[in-house]
């Protein structure tokens, strides 16, 4: 297999966001080393400036319709990749904002923290574009590299170290599975690029290979039964890193899952649907039921994240364009609600130094703003109208019912009720219970900004989702290899007799 590296300047343009981030990485390091006395905030805002520029560049690409593929389809930049990259870069910006106050907990290497965040972002941006098995492996490992360090960043904290080691060992294990799976798939098909595998024959080797790849990606998204690292890692890691971990790697891995299942394995849909259904049902049920017993808010959000991934996988199980649209939509709503919730966890833990749910007692009196925002985010995660999460869930259910996935929908609906319970337990603590200490909480400016952004996103998408649905529909439209692209094109609504 030969790679012809013919790159014209216009091809290089497709790389522009990544080039921007890479050069910014260097700048961050240079500045950090050259000006050791520079206040941390300055470096944070400098990193944010770069990422905002990248976001603007991505938005311009999306608007101008600049798409294409590089390196013999190893790297594709379609609108779906752009969507995912925007999600990843957007979450990275919000994460850096919430980190600004948290960072004083790190005794050393404060500047490198931003470097690592941006590096992980870069890795995940590549992941969103990965279109063959090699680039899948490289980008996945590249993005994990930053996280291996970030999770163990609280060096004095045993929990953080434990979390880092757990994530590292399981991550390496997943990487091994991935490599083995890739070798099997390549051995069976002789192909690396997803879109070339459409004609593959179903052989045991291929099936095992893809199962192993799915396991490695399942580890990334934290779906049951590959979830075991999630609770401890989320609990131990520095909270901003947890927040980052809870959204960006999942988004990036789901981009690969979409390409893998809907392009490479489109012909085997009847088989893998069963796999996804099983994983989805297990994730939703396990995540929600175990979340009930949690006493730590980070663990609660970890388990709720497992359940949310189960919900997202319903969209994948449909295998249709509409299901993929719904997944993208859901991820966007999840990003706002989840990052918002973590921002509040950080704000509360900065103010009272605790992450136990019991210590949220009376938050409604101590800080009405934080409590109200937390309420909105939790209800959006639970799927209550008029918040974004409700529309996201409904979108996925509608896509699923069109494919007749009744079991999944039934389980999903029951799980909404279960999840309502533990989210409301937090709400009860915040609003019904009386605070032990009535002093009002102080919230720092950057966290407030993040909460406002997330609130705006959650409410706006919930109240008027049309722009976002248009966006996700067009994002998947260009990603044209979907199993049956005509399956769910909008049918014009029937004529409506009024006044009858």
């Amino acid at each position: 297999m030969t790679f012809e590296l013919t790159m014209s300047p216009s091809d290089l343009l497709l790389f522009l966001p990544e080039i921007l981030v890479t050069s910014w990485l260097c700048f961050i390091l240079i500045i950090d080393f050259s000006f050791p006395r520079l206040p941390n905030e300055q470096l944070a805002y400098f990193s944010i400036a770069g990422l905002v520029g990248t976001l603007g560049c991505l938005a311009w690409f999306d608007f101008a319709g600049i798409t294409g593929a590089l390196f013999g389809n190893m790297f594709v930049l379609d609108r779906m990749a752009l969507f995912f990259k925007m999600l990843i870069v957007g979450s990275a910006i919000l994460i850096i904002l919430v980190s600004i106050d948290y960072i004083h907990r790190f005794k050393v290497f404060r500047g490198e923290y931003y470097f690592l965040i941006v590096m992980a972002t870069l890795g995940m941006m590549f992941m969103a574009s990965a279109n063959d098995l090699l680039s899948l492996f490289i980008t996945l490992e590249f993005s994990s590299l930053g996280f291996y360090v970030l999770i163990a960043y609280l060096r004095e904290d045993m929990a953080s170290n434990e979390a880092g080691i757990k994530f590292f060992i399981l991550g390496i294990f997943a990487a091994a599975l991935l490599a083995y799976g890739i070798s099997l798939v390549f051995g069976e098909t002789g192909k690396l690029v997803f879109s070339d595998m459409k004609m593959a024959q179903a052989t045991p080797g291929l099936a095992i290979g893809f199962l192993l790849i799915f396991a490695a990606l399942g580890f990334k998204i934290g779906a049951v039964p590959f979830h075991s690292w999630i609770p401890d890692t989320y609990h131990g890691a520095p909270t901003p890193v947890t927040a980052f971990l809870s959204i960006a790697p999942k988004v990036a891995a789901l981009a690969i899952l979409l390409r893998m299942f809907l392009v490479a394995l489109a012909t085997f849909k009847p088989i893998w649907v069963l796999l996804i259904v099983a994983v989805s049902v297990l994730s939703m049920t396990y995540g929600n039921i175990v979340a009930i017993a949690q006493k730590n808010i980070k663990r609660l959000l970890a388990y709720s994240g497992i359940a949310q991934i189960g919900n997202v996988l319903i969209g994948l199980a449909t295998g249709t364009k509409m299901g993929s649209d719904a997944m993208l939509f859901y991820l966007l709503t999840y990003l706002f609600a989840n990052l918002g919730a973590f921002a509040i966890v950080i704000a509360v833990s900065e103010a009272i130094g605790s992450e136990e749910i019991d210590d949220y007692s009376g938050l409604g009196r101590r800080s009405p703003f934080l409590a109200f925002s937390m309420l909105i985010f939790l209800l959006s995660l639970a799927g209550v109208p008029p918040l974004a999460g409700f529309i996201g869930k409904l979108y996925i259910f509608i896509a699923a019912i069109k494919e007749g996935l009744y079991v999944l929908i039934t389980v999903g609906l029951i799980n909404i009720v279960i999840s309502m319970y533990y989210y409301l337990i937090v709400v009860k603590k915040m609003y019904v219970n009386e605070p032990r200490d009535r002093s009002p909480l102080k919230i720092s400016g950057p966290i407030k900004v993040v909460v406002y952004i997330c609130l705006a996103g959650t409410l706006a998408i919930g109240i008027y989702p049309q722009p976002v649905t248009d966006w996700v529909v067009s994002a998947i439209l260009v990603f044209s290899n979907v199993a049956d692209p005509t399956a769910s094109l909008p049918i014009p609504p029937a004529v409506i007799p009024l006044g009858g």
């Binding site: 009930i292 017993a293 509409m322 649209d325 409604g364 009196r365 009405p368 209800l379 209550v384 109208p385 008029p386 409700f390 409904l394 979108y395 259910f397 509608i398 019912i401 069109k402 007749g404 929908i409 039934t410 609906l413 029951i414 909404i416 009720v417 309502m420 319970y421 409301l424 337990i425 709400v427 009860k428 609003y431 019904v432 219970n433 008027y464 989702p465 049309q466 649905t469 248009d470 529909v473 909008p490 049918i491 609504p493 029937a494 004529v495 409506i496 007799p497 009024l498 006044g499 009858g500």
Partner: protein
């Protein structure tokens, strides 16, 4: 004022948003904004009720905004004869509820915000012509209930000291939800939300099935009822329409609350603050009946005819069980709560009979019951605020201290029983007369239920207001100021007023019920099959005088005091 629905629906929302920017220290401003937005809503719905053209019938004041093309959802609002009085009842109770909670001290702003959102969401259901938005508003009304109950609710005094086996304070224990013996507000709130959500997702499943199998890619009720063909699709040994109907019926009947699904309701009533109980019992419970009518009756008429006897059976249990528990309950709010769930059985009876008169009666009863139970809860709340107890045996003789309240309470009891002089009487008689042909047994049960109502309400009235008074209640105050009296006066006026002038209410409701029932029982007085506007034949009918209404089967207009001209 073709857009009055928007004013009714969005005024409370706008009020709630405006309240966010007001400080809790400016009490009068907070009250003013809340009352002002409720007043806009009330005035607009009065206009709606006045301007609803019952001769024309059908859905009026229709508004339609594209909301999501991909999903086939539009914000489609409109009211027919069934929705109009319920919208009016909601906004009356919201307005009254603002004044009933005039003295809320703790976090007043937040209280009004959630109350306004609750009421607006309820109103939204009554005017939704899109299944998605019907469900949207329905779900949206649940969470404010949780917060209202949790933050401003009350529970029995011993509860605070109760502990679970592990020695934890019960109210702090995670397992409190399983503590079925208690009636704490936390328990009540959580039970309410989980119960309603659980059944709401069943209804959602039904809605999704309608969406899929109609293959119209729309949630619009008006399209679905004309074009959806859901009959005769075999599924799991039965037909699809039956499964959908069962899901929809029980999904929505839980909030109504029909007998085996009622248990969240009385505890919820008991724990809720007065204004919330009013809205809860007054209009939130009617969401169930209304949604069944709007979804099951409209979209699955034939299945409704086939399966509605289920409701006829269950409503007997509702009536008798609710009545008996109310008779033995010792807590004022439990009595009223169970009385409400018992009275909702009448509505189910009227609906089950599928007769023009009985269904009209059922809808009128929803309206009448909203006023009666609203008054009762408002006054139970007043008594609780003054005495800090809801325990009937420890109360008594309060009529000396609060003559106005006790006077109103007598009227409210009369209304709740259905004594002539209140609109409840008309509605009850219509349900009973209309159902007699089809369900004589149930009618007998219903009459027994009325006797039971008489018994427990009189028992409670005696327990609260008459007999010797404990001296520790000598500081109790009557409602003397204008804001305190206003809500009761409004509700009494409405309740009594519609007894003497019921014809407009009757005509409006009838105009909504007629085409519906005609479609269900396949008597075809209107040419709905050819998509002919309903107005055509109705015009002809209405141009002749109202007396000619009697030509329709089973008409009761001669019984109406307003029509016959004879006062009772």
């Amino acid at each position: 004022m073709a857009d009055s629905l928007l004013y009714i629906l969005f005024a409370p929302f706008v009020g709630a948003i405006a309240l966010i920017f007001v400080s809790n220290r400016q009490a009068m401003l907070v009250r003013g904004i809340a009352a002002g937005s409720a007043l806009i809503s009330l005035l607009a719905s009065l206009y709606l009720f006045y301007a609803y053209d019952h001769v024309k019938g059908g859905f009026q004041f229709v508004q339609r905004f594209e909301w999501s093309r991909q999903l086939g959802i539009s914000l489609h609002l409109g009211v027919d004869g069934i929705g109009t009085p319920l919208v009016l009842a909601s906004s009356i109770l919201l307005f009254a509820g603002i004044f009933v909670s005039w003295h809320v001290k703790d976090r007043m702003k937040e209280f009004y915000i959630w109350l306004l959102i609750l009421a607006a969401a309820t109103i939204g259901v009554f005017m939704s012509l899109d299944l998605f938005f019907l469900f949207f508003f329905y779900e949206m009304s649940v969470i404010p209930m949780y917060l209202l109950l949790g933050m401003w609710g009350s529970h029995t005094k011993t509860y605070n000291e109760m502990t679970d086996p592990a020695g934890l304070k019960l109210r702090d224990s995670v397992g409190f939800i399983f503590n079925f013996g208690s009636n704490s507000k936390e328990y009540a709130a959580m039970k309410l939300v989980l119960f309603l959500s659980a059944f709401a997702v069943a209804a959602l499943m039904g809605i999704l099935l309608i969406y899929k199998y109609s293959e119209l890619n729309t949630f619009d009720i008006l399209v679905l009822r004309e074009q959806a063909n859901l009959m005769n699709i075999p599924v799991l040994g039965t037909t699809l329409d039956k499964i959908i109907w069962i899901l929809i019926f029980f999904g929505f009947a839980s909030i109504a609350p029909l007998w085996p699904l009622h248990s969240w309701s009385p505890v919820g009533h008991a724990a809720a603050p007065a204004a919330t109980s009013m809205l809860h019992a007054g209009v939130l419970m009617k969401l169930g009946h209304f949604s069944i009518i709007r979804v099951a009756f409209e979209i699955l008429p034939e299945t409704t005819r086939e399966l509605m006897p289920i409701a006829a059976v269950l409503c007997m249990f509702s009536i008798v069980y609710g009545g008996l528990v109310a008779f033995y309950a010792k807590d004022t709010k439990y009595v009223i709560g169970y009385s409400s769930s018992s009275h909702m059985g009448y509505v189910f009876l009227g609906m089950a009979a599928l007769d023009y008169i009985s269904v009209t009666g059922a809808v009128m009863y929803m309206f009448a019951h909203a006023m009666a139970t609203g008054m009762l809860f408002a006054m139970a709340g007043w008594v609780y605020d003054q005495t800090h107890t809801r325990d009937i045996p420890s109360l008594g003789g309060l009529s000396n201290r609060m003559p106005f309240i006790s006077g109103c309470f007598v009227i409210a009891c009369m209304a709740s029983i259905g004594v002539p002089g209140t609109v409840n009487f008309i509605a009850e008689v219509m349900i009973i007369v209309g159902s007699w042909n089809k369900y004589p047994l149930q009618v007998i049960v219903a009459v027994v239920g009325i006797v039971l109502t008489l018994a427990y309400l009189f028992k409670m009235m005696r327990g609260l207001f008459f007999g010797p008074m404990d001296q520790k209640y000598s500081h109790a105050h009557d409602a003397v100021s204008f804001p305190d009296r206003l809500p009761l006066l409004i509700m009494i006026t409405v309740s009594v007023g519609f007894f003497f002038f019921p014809m407009h209410l009757y005509n409006v409701v009838r105009s909504g019920v007629d085409p519906l029932i005609a479609k269900i029982i396949r008597v075809v007085p209107v040419a709905s099959q050819e998509h002919e506007p309903l107005g055509v034949k109705r015009d002809a009918r209405a141009n002749s005088s109202p007396q000619n209404l009697a030509t329709l089967p089973g008409d009761l207009s001669s019984l109406m005091p307003g029509a016959s001209g004879s006062d009772q």
